[in-house]
């Protein structure tokens, strides 16, 4: 008998192993040419060989991502709050904000490079541009959606507007803000990568383009692998932060495999 816990690991692991085995076999037996689909082992060997390079470029991308994401949080949360608490500002800015989401943000990347040069600033801003919207919306929704009675409890005790914000509205909104940040951090990686594709001296985007130009498909896969690892690590870091900061929330979340119709 396999426990449910073990199964949650075992099943996806089996799927991945089988897929990789078929891939390896297909490459070894020459079903696909190597420059299109190199073998798994080849990819691993090549990536390990060039690990110093991959890691260095990855750090550049990570840095751009974190800066863009950090800016999204610093701008997004206050902007969300302003939208909720300041009516005139909401009416003036909200349509613009929604409208701006129709613009494919990636299309603005060349413009940003033109404006801010080929350095870190432009990459950070492009990552920010792609990543900040979910944080704004989630912050606004989170801050607005508090039961009035929760505010009344604090008001009745004589809470000032500032206290209402710090003691009630903000903590109440944190789960929503965190949900937005989880979406946003993976988007920030995309933003940074796109910026690197267009113009960069280094970063994983540059590495991918170089590998492509040299027909080094193994390294190309290595770069993609590095990006996957980066995304997973960032997401897990967000989860860990959430677990640490919102222990009361984590335990109430729907766990995978929970039947939504079943009573708790």
């Amino acid at each position: 008998m396999i426990s449910t816990r073990a199964r949650a690991w075992l099943y996806p692991l089996t799927t991945v192993t089988v897929l990789l085995a078929v891939w390896e076999l297909a490459a070894r037996l020459g079903w696909v040419p190597r420059y299109l689909l190199p073998s798994v082992s080849g990819i691993v060997v090549r990536t390990v060989e060039l690990r110093a390079l991959v890691l260095r470029e990855l750090m550049v991308t990570l840095w751009e991502t974190l800066l863009g994401f950090g800016l999204s949080v610093v701008v997004g949360v206050p902007l969300g709050f302003a939208l909720v608490s300041w009516r005139a500002f909401n009416q003036a800015v909200y349509p613009l904000l929604i409208g701006s989401q129709v613009v494919p943000k990636v299309a603005l990347a060349p413009l940003f490079l033109l404006w801010f040069g080929f350095g870190l600033t432009a990459k950070m801003l492009i990552a920010f541009l792609v990543a900040f919207f979910p944080i704004v919306i989630n912050s606004a929704v989170g801050l607005a959606s508090i039961e009035p009675e929760k505010l009344d409890v604090a008001r009745a005790a004589g809470a000032s507007r500032l206290q209402l914000f710090w003691l009630a509205r903000l903590p109440n909104a944190l789960p929503m803000i965190f949900a937005g940040m989880k979406v946003s951090i993976t988007l920030a990686v995309v933003g940074a990568l796109v910026a690197e594709f267009i113009a960069a001296e280094n970063g994983i985007g540059r590495l991918l383009l170089n590998a492509n130009g040299n027909m080094d498909t193994e390294l190309l896969f290595g770069g993609i692998l590095a990006l996957v690892a980066l995304g997973v690590v960032l997401y897990l870091a967000m989860e860990a932060a959430e677990r640490l900061l919102l222990p009361w929330h984590i335990s109430q979340r729907v766990q995978p495999g929970t039947r939504l119709d079943a009573a708790p």
């Binding site: 009675e149 929760k150 409890v153 604090a154 009745a156 005790a157 206290q163 003691l167 903590p171």
Partner: protein
């Protein structure tokens, strides 16, 4: 700041001294004079509460019973200073209420605990807001939690508690800063019948020990009679006070009082008043 702690300690003492002084005669603590509430909607104005006058003496336990939507909660929110009345005025201890009245502890039908705070931190919320001496009131919070049987749960989060326990925490939070006035809006309506009787006993115990003035809103006629010195019966929308019935049952009241003929007389009197308005109809 040193003066901060000293003044908060003092205010508790003076309050107790003030309460201890005149025994017997009830000074009015709450005076709601001709208060009404109208809401403007798309289809014109809606009267939630017709002009109502309600006076509650110091240390008196007053209940309001009435059908849903009769404006009971509106009246309570006006008394608390959470909602400005359309007309009329509220005075508490002789001072006009024009902002949330800090000397009141409020309990709603939902516990409305902050789920990001542990039990003890929830109870200490008013202390934090009013910047009172944390050490002093922490002790008081622990005493209150002990009084309602929640010792050992101080570090739990609200989601780890049952509904009854949560409502007990809400009660402690309302009492922690030692407000002279308790405002309770159907506080036990969401509890099962047994927990409810238990909470009624505990509330009576708390109020007699801590000498509170209470405005208690309920749907339950027996609950109102059991707890109160005075039951106010309100009519349906727009709310009006129909009758005020003093309850002369001796205290402390035990659950045995529920079976006495006197208790039955009070409940049937209130029922017949509501029936005469067509709220309760006989078949």
């Amino acid at each position: 700041m040193i003066s901060d702690g000293a003044s908060s300690g003092m205010s508790v003492r003076t309050r107790e001294a003030a309460i201890a002084q005149p025994d017997g005669a009830l000074q009015p603590l709450v005076e709601a004079i001709e208060v009404s509430k109208r809401y403007r909607t798309q289809d014109g104005t809606i009267a939630a509460l017709d002009p109502v006058t309600l006076v509650i003496g110091e240390r008196e336990f007053t209940s309001i019973v009435g059908p849903s939507g009769c404006g009971k909660s509106t009246l309570m929110r006006i008394v608390a200073g959470l909602l400005p009345p359309t007309s009329g005025s509220v005075r508490i201890g002789g001072v006009t209420v024009d902002r949330p009245y800090v000397g009141a502890g409020i309990v709603f039908q939902d516990p409305t605990l902050y789920e990001w705070r542990r039990v003890l931190e929830n109870v200490l919320l008013p202390v934090e807001i009013q910047r009172l001496d944390r050490a002093v009131f922490r002790r008081r919070a622990l005493e209150l939690l002990d009084l309602v049987g929640l010792t050992g749960f101080e570090r739990k989060y609200p989601f780890e508690l049952s509904g009854g326990m949560r409502q007990r925490v809400a009660l402690c939070r309302a009492l922690v800063h030692d407000p002279p006035l308790l405002l309770m809006d159907e506080p036990f309506a969401a509890l099962d019948a047994l927990s409810r009787e238990q909470m009624n006993l505990e509330l009576q115990d708390l109020c007699s020990r801590q000498r509170k003035t209470v405005l208690f809103i309920t749907h339950s006629i027996p609950e109102a009679v059991f707890l109160s010195d005075c039951v106010v019966v309100m009519s349906a929308r727009p709310g009006r006070i129909g009758a005020t019935i003093p309850i002369a049952l001796p205290r402390p009241r035990t659950l045995d009082v529920l079976g006495t003929s006197e208790f039955g007389r009070y409940t049937s009197e209130i029922r017949s008043i509501l029936a005469s308005w067509g709220v309760l109809r006989a078949r």
